[in-house]
């Protein structure tokens, strides 16, 4: 789930098939069929609970609820891994999820104990956690003893209900390893059916559904698809998917009350594919080449295959599931789920760790030094709220006091489809839940030779299909690849030919932003924006970040992207607010709009006064290579505006400092401590084919601060904070705050929770190590050739992450915050169920209050708990290899 609100206009309701976060609480009782088509959200298999006739559609809705909702890999969108349980309190949801998926709930005990010994979990935090977890003082003592036990197995997950449930009991009983037989056939079929370009033959025909395709391949082929050899079994394929499912379930399961459980266990046996099918069903445009598919058909195909194989292995009278002795005594699914618990001592430790980490920031905010006197600002820079920009902004301001930075969601409030010069398809440049209505096309400003696109290793030989050509090619060219490979491995980053990287596309191009005609194209998109539409978007953003006056002569709009080589997850490295794309088009659009005189005059009438000599300049920060590219230089005035060259030189210096700060995380990083070595290292890193960690992305993201930069300027936040600019004094009714929070909570919260769960159990919630990943049909990655699709993040992205929930600190009074939250109930539920934490820093009294579902809790910390200080960023981070607590930066005056 992602941001659902446009920057302007009223807040729209969630428009996807996702669960609204405010659910009725899960019930195990019968659930009367509510208004259709709303899916029943009780988590018990409907058939079992209601004792009514089995209803396939509601059973499928119920199953779909438990599936991961990750779109095809080309647009990687961070979301809460446990979105299915988001309507429940955090720890309860973890307990249920651990039982159903067989996943770990928290970190291993020893990791918490180590952190405690190292002083990163504080005594007062541990006491607080103990009190909240165990109200009874006697039991609390016992719990406290348990905390320090030596135990290496406490974090082992329970047996998964879905993977070791009734279905497995039955299969074990009849001694058929059905999954091992069906999965490879099913995965090959579905992968080829949905393939977006890897295979040369696709079995799918335009507009043909999966079920029809199976029918054709079986009935209209000299060799029917295995395992449908027997004409008897093929009768199933001529039924409708509904009939086929019911028919197979009758035979396989027998007892109607168990149908729901069986289907759930079946679908969760391969959550990756089931989830992918569901995502494509609900959102067909996520595929470039459309396919007609539904979860129902997918399950029908699987059941038909199971049926065929069972008949083959065990004959027509195989023992059905309900005939297995003892199967009706097994506890029901819902009962077991309701009894799920997590180890109390791990929960205590986790709470203590989170509170310690949160306290580090909150304490620092209490002890902030007096704000610096007003200074002369020559350049303002607008960044994405991304935590990776946090350190770059700090370095910029540390080097030059004449620079002021702002933060906003990296699509800068302008949502559109973008079709770049090299793109074959237009892609959405905005958070995933917004479907843009505008299309922006990039074209060459002057006819020039097509730029070479060689930025990825060439796989050309793969795509040539002629047998003889391949034979000749291998014979003759093969040896050349020895040289190419040796070069790539021993001299990474030194290109054999001139290669264009993301940041160095120097060819001037033009974005067609201004609407010429009001005629929409065939997809119903409008080409470009009218000046009013432009002004609407700019006004909204400027007011959100509180920049309505005192514009500097130069405003640089810095988007970000990341270049990496040999990395199928590249989309997860780019800007999250641009749906996993580099944000350059948005920055260019923003600057272009803000430079248009008619837009400026519109803005002036709305109270935003941009001086005529102010120039907006778009730029892109490449977060892996630490390079900045400035765009549209052809539009700059011939006379360089004051401050621009200053900014450029400061930026160059800040980037190398930033690279140096990042290098402290790289164990194989440069041995010398010079910044030049660091810059060299990060560039090599981003262009080496053997480097699985081009950068560490959002690792260790922890805080989100919504407030003016003056609040965070003097803090060293160790690249751990999402920073959104906001002026509390310009927002008396909380209107802007609710808009900001409705972007920040899902985007940052989604990133945070996805990292958290992928880190806690990388094999269940995450994608595992990326080393054996195999790209499947451009849809996702899997282990090996016939594995299930892996969702979540690979271990290389999260291994150094400290899994802790996000703390949002808002610089505003609780009254206004309450007002703002009441406008976004869907996101308030995230807070009420503790999926993330919120604290208010009162702008007048500087009092700190922590949000709770019923009340705001005033926070105070022990006297001796003080915030450490440092004289410069480098002095603080140098020589440290783990995360660093928040420091106060006492800049030596320059």
């Amino acid at each position: 789930m992602m941001a659902n609100s446009l920057i302007h206009g009223p807040l729209v309701a969630l428009d996807r098939g996702d669960d609204p976060p405010t659910h009725d609480v899960m019930t195990t009782e019968s659930h009367p069929a509510k208004t259709k088509p709303a899916p029943p959200h009780d988590h018990s298999p409907p058939a079992k609970a209601t004792k009514l006739v089995f209803d396939l559609d509601s059973a499928l809705e119920h199953i779909a609820h438990w599936l991961p909702s990750q779109s095809p890999i080309k647009d990687f969108i961070h979301h809460n891994t446990l979105h299915a349980l988001q309507h429940r309190p955090f720890h309860e949801a973890i307990a249920i999820a651990s039982r159903i998926y067989g996943a770990k709930s928290y970190l291993p005990l020893s990791e918490y104990q180590t952190r405690f010994r190292e002083g990163r979990i504080y005594d007062f935090a541990l006491e607080r956690a103990l009190e909240s977890v165990e109200p009874d003082p006697d039991l609390r003592e016992r719990l406290k003893e348990e905390l320090f036990r030596d135990d290496h197995e406490a974090h082992y997950p329970p047996l998964s209900l879905a993977l070791h449930g009734l279905r497995q009991t039955w299969l074990t009983h009849i001694e058929v390893n059905l999954d091992a037989q069906v999965h490879p056939i099913l995965f090959r079929f579905i992968a080829n059916f949905l393939d977006q370009g890897i295979s040369r033959w696709s079995v799918a025909r335009d507009g043909e559904s999966l079920w029809k395709c199976l029918y054709r391949l079986t009935e209209d082929s000299f060799v029917p698809l295995y395992p449908f050899k027997d004409p008897g079994i093929r009768k199933i394929l001529s039924m409708t998917p509904d009939e086929a499912i019911l028919f197979c379930l009758q035979k396989i399961v027998g007892d109607e009350t168990l149908f729901g459980v069986y289907l759930l266990e079946l679908a969760l046996g391969h959550p990756g594919w089931s989830g992918m099918v569901r995502v494509i069903e609900t959102n067909p445009e996520s595929l470039l080449t459309r396919r007609t598919i539904s979860l129902k058909e997918f399950i029908a195909v699987e059941l038909a295959m199971e049926m065929a194989l069972l008949l083959m292995k065990r004959g027509p009278h195989f023992q059905s599931l309900s005939k297995v002795p003892g199967i009706d005594e097994a506890p029901s699914f819902a009962e077991t789920l309701d009894q799920s618990t997590t180890p109390q001592h791990l929960k205590t430790w986790h709470e203590a760790m989170e509170f310690s980490l949160h306290a580090e920031l909150l304490r620092a905010l209490q002890q902030l030094p007096k704000p610096a006197p007003l200074r002369e600002i020559k350049v303002q820079a607008l960044f994405c709220i991304d935590d990776r920009e946090c350190s770059l902004r700090r370095h910029l301001e540390e080097i030059s006091p004449a620079i002021e930075t702002f933060g906003a969601a990296g699509f800068f409030g302008i949502e559109f489809f973008f079709k770049g010069i090299d793109d074959i398809y237009p892609v959405a440049q905005c958070p995933a839940v917004i479907t843009p209505k505008h299309l922006v096309i990039e074209s060459e400003s002057s006819p020039k030779i097509q730029p070479e696109i060689l930025s990825r290793p060439s796989l050309d030989p793969l795509k040539k299909s002629q047998l003889m050509r391949n034979w000749l090619f291998t014979q003759t060219m093969g040896l050349g690849y020895a040289a190419k490979l040796a070069w790539d491995v021993f001299r990474p980053g030194a290109p054999m030919v001139k290669i264009k990287k993301l940041a160095e596309v120097d060819n001037p191009t033009r974005l067609h932003l201004l609407r010429v005609t009001n005629e929409p194209n065939d997809q119903g998109q409008l080409l470009g924006f009218t000046p009013t539409e432009m002004a609407d978007r700019l006004e909204s953003l400027f007011k959100n970040i509180g920049l309505t006056e005192a514009f500097a002569p130069v405003v640089v709009v810095v988007a970000h992207g990341s270049s990496s080589t040999n990395n199928p997850h590249f989309a997860a490295y780019d800007c999250g607010a641009c749906a996993g794309k580099p944000g350059a088009p948005n920055a260019r659009a923003f600057a272009h709009m803000a430079n248009l005189p008619e837009v400026r005059s519109l803005l002036q009438s709305r109270g935003i006064n941009i001086p005529p000599n102010t120039l907006f300049i778009p730029a892109l920060h490449n977060t892996s290579r630490d390079e900045v590219t400035y765009y549209d230089q052809q539009d700059w005035p011939s006379e360089q505006p004051e401050g621009l060259s200053h900014f450029q030189s400061v930026m160059t210096k800040a980037l190398s400092r930033n690279a140096h700060e990042r290098c402290r995380w790289f164990e194989l990083g440069p041995t010398s401590s010079s910044e030049a070595a660091a810059v060299h290292h990060v560039r090599i890193r981003a262009s080496s084919i053997f480097e699985p960690r081009p950068e560490l992305n959002h690792s260790n993201n922890l805080y989100c601060i919504v407030g003016p930069r003056s609040l965070t300027e003097a803090l060293f936040l160790d690249r751990r904070a999402f920073l959104h600019s906001y002026d509390p004094h310009q927002d008396p009714d909380g209107e802007r705050l609710s808009r900001i929070l409705s972007q920040v909570i899902p985007v940052c919260g989604g990133i945070n929770l996805e990292y958290l769960f992928s880190r806690i159990d990388n094999s269940m919630y995450g994608a595992g190590t990326k080393l054996p990943h195999n790209v499947i049909g451009l849809l996702g990655v899997a282990n090996g050739v016939e594995g299930d699709l892996r969702t979540g993040l690979p271990s290389q992205m999260i291994e150094v992450h400290e899994p802790s929930r996000l703390l949002i600190v808002v610089h505003q009074t609780t009254a206004i915050l309450d007002a703002a939250l009441s406008k976004i109930p869907a996101f308030k539920a995230w807070l009420d169920h503790e999926w993330l934490r919120l604290a208010a820093l009162d702008p007048t009294t500087s009092e700190l209050l922590l949000y709770g579902p019923s009340r705001w809790e005033a926070l105070s910390f022990p006297e001796r708990f003080t915030t450490p200080e440092g004289s410069s960023s480098r002095a603080i981070y140098e020589g440290k290899s783990n995360t660093i607590p928040t420091h106060i930066l006492r800049k030596v005056s320059q």
Partner: protein, 623 residues
């Protein structure tokens, strides 16, 4: 030159030992592997240049005899010629690249040391194969390659899918081993000790195959089976794509570059044998053609990038088989080098395919449409619409399901044993006892009548062995049960042989290896299953590797010992046993060999189920 050859062979072994003993940290492993690779590079370059300077001779070097018993010799004999040179060069280039690549790629990966240990043992085995001058030593290297390949496929042992695929590859490997082992023995027998690769041409120069046409054809057939299994040729094409479970570089070095071409190497070495008769040449040719057909069509419908590269590689190896059948040795070598480097490169950059296709190429290129082709116009009108469509569907099904070769091979090779096991297990215990008693009774009667009953009891033992192997193979009850079946079956093999054969000396070697491994394994299984309770769900993996790592390692050694891995005493024992059997009682040799193959598969199954997997909390089932 001899010293350089020895250096090429032993440096990887030295690297393996150093990493095993000293590789406590990632830095040290990286340091050792880097320097060992450089050293190996120096030795290989030295060898190649010296060889070139001497005028590219075929050089043979007899180091010593590892074992001599009667007419049986196990010589350590090296041969270096242009075939070896090409393979050695390729090994060096790819190995250096992979070592360097993995330094960063595997950084911080659990199992960093294990990975390097395995690839060093792989290179050791590979160099042994490349440099060996006689089939027995070749076989030892071949086995080492097989085991390291098995370990790398199952590198991620907490997921059961890699394990299953490792077993799948391993069972094909065992089948090749069986072919190769019997071939090695047959060569010894037929050629009367003149079995050096370098002598083959000369021995066969008089135009008559030694040992008769049929036997000689059988020998060729065994070699061809071994080669096509290892190189994933028809009908074994299916296993290579499924073996892509390890880290990408290991897939690149094994299935992209080196291991997959070992079958070709075997055929190059034994060309005088199978090339001697036309039928066997034709078989190689047919295998090549069929492979090219099957693999190139299967490649079209592969929707995953590694599978596609694997089939592309197999297709090229199929071409190599065709070239071999024509006798174009130089062309094969050149082709081998090209294919190895190209596939290695493609696999290493395979993760780039997403970016490549999205940003550079774009839409799916589904250009396969029979209807437009000329065929449609030459058909009768009623068929014109339907037949091409049906044909297209058929081809798609065949491509998608890879001609169902796996099902085919499995039903031919393994299902019969499995069915036999199921059948046997259904026999009532009383009936079994009765049969046993009757059999013993007949033996006693025969003894009283004054017959030599040793062959009779030998036969009984052999039947018992097959029975136990089939049982172990077909049922997955408890690990202890299966382990005992395997152990007993192996013992029966020894007992049976001792009853039949007159030579007994090697049996001490054999039994000493087997019994120790069996008992050690038994002890470990008992200790390891005690925590979770002895009843074992057959589909459950117990993750002892994570829970009790030392036990798991020891158990691994016991497993190797029991199945006769080339460094254990049981290996020599097995080798000798089969040698004697095939020279004296040829009927029993295939039985014993099959039993060994089945035992190997069953035992590795136990190992995987006990040691692999992901640990779970044991809770009372009521929740």
């Amino acid at each position: 030159m001899n010293d350089l050859i020895l250096a090429c062979l032993l440096i990887p072994l030295l690297g393996f030992i150093f990493i095993f003993l000293l590789g406590g940290t990632e830095q040290r492993v990286a340091f050792i592997s880097l320097w060992m690779t450089r050293l190996l590079g120096a030795a290989i370059i030295g060898l190649l240049s010296l060889w070139a300077w001497l005028g590219f001779p075929a050089h043979e070097f007899h180091w010593f005899n590892l074992l001599e018993q009667g007419d049986y010799q196990f010589p350590i004999l090296f041969l270096f010629d242009r075939i070896g040179a090409a393979y050695l060069f390729c090994t060096w280039v790819i190995f250096s690249i992979i070592v360097r690549y993995c330094r960063h790629y595997l950084h911080r990966e659990a199992g960093y040391r294990r990975f390097f240990l395995t690839i060093f043992s792989f290179v050791f085995g590979l160099n042994m194969v490349i440099l060996s001058g006689v089939l027995d030593m070749f076989f030892a290297g071949w086995e080492i390659v097989g085991i390291s390949s098995f370990l790398l496929i199952a590198f991620y042992r907490h997921r059961f899918q890699p394990i299953r695929n490792a077993l799948r590859a391993y069972s094909i490997y065992r089948l090749c081993d069986f072919g190769l082992l019997l071939a090695a023995l047959l060569i010894d027998l037929l050629l009367h000790g003149r079995n050096h690769f370098s002598e083959l041409k000369e021995v066969l120069s008089d135009g008559y195959p030694p040992g008769g046409y049929i036997e000689f054809f059988g020998l060729s057939l065994l070699l061809i089976i071994a080669a096509s299994g290892k190189s994933a040729q028809f009908p074994f094409c299916f296993w290579i794509p499924r073996a892509m479970e390890g880290p990408t570089p290991s897939s690149a070095i094994f299935y992209g570059a080196l291991s997959v071409h070992l079958g070709v190497f075997l055929l190059l070495r034994t060309q005088p044998i199978w090339g001697f008769e036309l039928p066997s040449r034709l078989i190689v040719m047919t295998i090549g053609v069929l492979t090219v057909f099957v693999a190139s069509i299967s490649e079209q419908a592969q929707s995953n990038i590694k599978g596609q590269i694997a089939y592309a590689s197999i297709t090229q190896v199929g071409f190599m088989f065709i070239e071999l059948a024509f006798g174009f040795e130089a062309l094969v070598l050149f082709h081998f080098l090209g294919n190895a480097f190209l596939r290695c490169y493609q696999l290493l950059v395979s993760p780039s395919i997403v970016a490549h296709l999205l940003r550079v190429e774009g839409e799916t290129d589904v250009n396969f449409d029979i209807r437009k082709s000329a065929l449609a116009h030459s058909l009768p009108m009623t068929l014109r619409q339907s037949l091409p469509e049906t044909l297209q569907n058929t081809l798609e099904v065949m491509a998608l399901q890879e001609f169902n070769l796996e099902t085919l091979v499995r039903s031919v090779l393994w299902d019969s044993f499995r069915d036999l096991g199921h059948l046997l297990s259904r026999i009532h215990p009383f009936l079994k006892t009765a049969i046993l008693l009757v059999a013993l009774g007949i033996g006693v009667i025969l003894f009283e009548k004054g017959f030599n009953i040793r062959p009779y009891f030998g036969l009984l033992a052999a039947l018992g062995m097959v029975y136990l192997s089939a049982m172990a193979f077909s049922r997955k009850r408890t690990p202890i049960w299966t382990w005992n079946q395997v152990g007993l079956s192996t013992l029966f093999a020894g007992v049976g042989t001792s009853l039949i054969s007159d030579e007994q000396g090697y049996l001490v070697l054999f039994f000493s290896g087997i019994i120790v491994a069996w008992l050690l394994g038994l002890l470990l299984i008992v200790r390891m299953t005690r925590i979770d309770g002895p009843t074992m769900n057959p589909y459950m993996y117990r993750a002892m590797d994570e829970k009790m790592p030392i036990h798991a390692l020891l158990f691994f050694l016991a497993f190797l010992g029991l199945v006769g891995f080339p460094i254990t005493p049981a290996f020599l024992g097995q080798d000798l046993m089969l040698f004697h059997l095939s020279s004296e009682h040829a009927w029993m040799a295939p039985l014993v060999a099959i039993a060994f193959v089945l035992n190997g598969i069953s035992a590795s199954g136990i190992y995987m189920r006990i040691c692999a997997g992901r640990p779970v909390e044991i809770r009372p089932s009521a929740g």
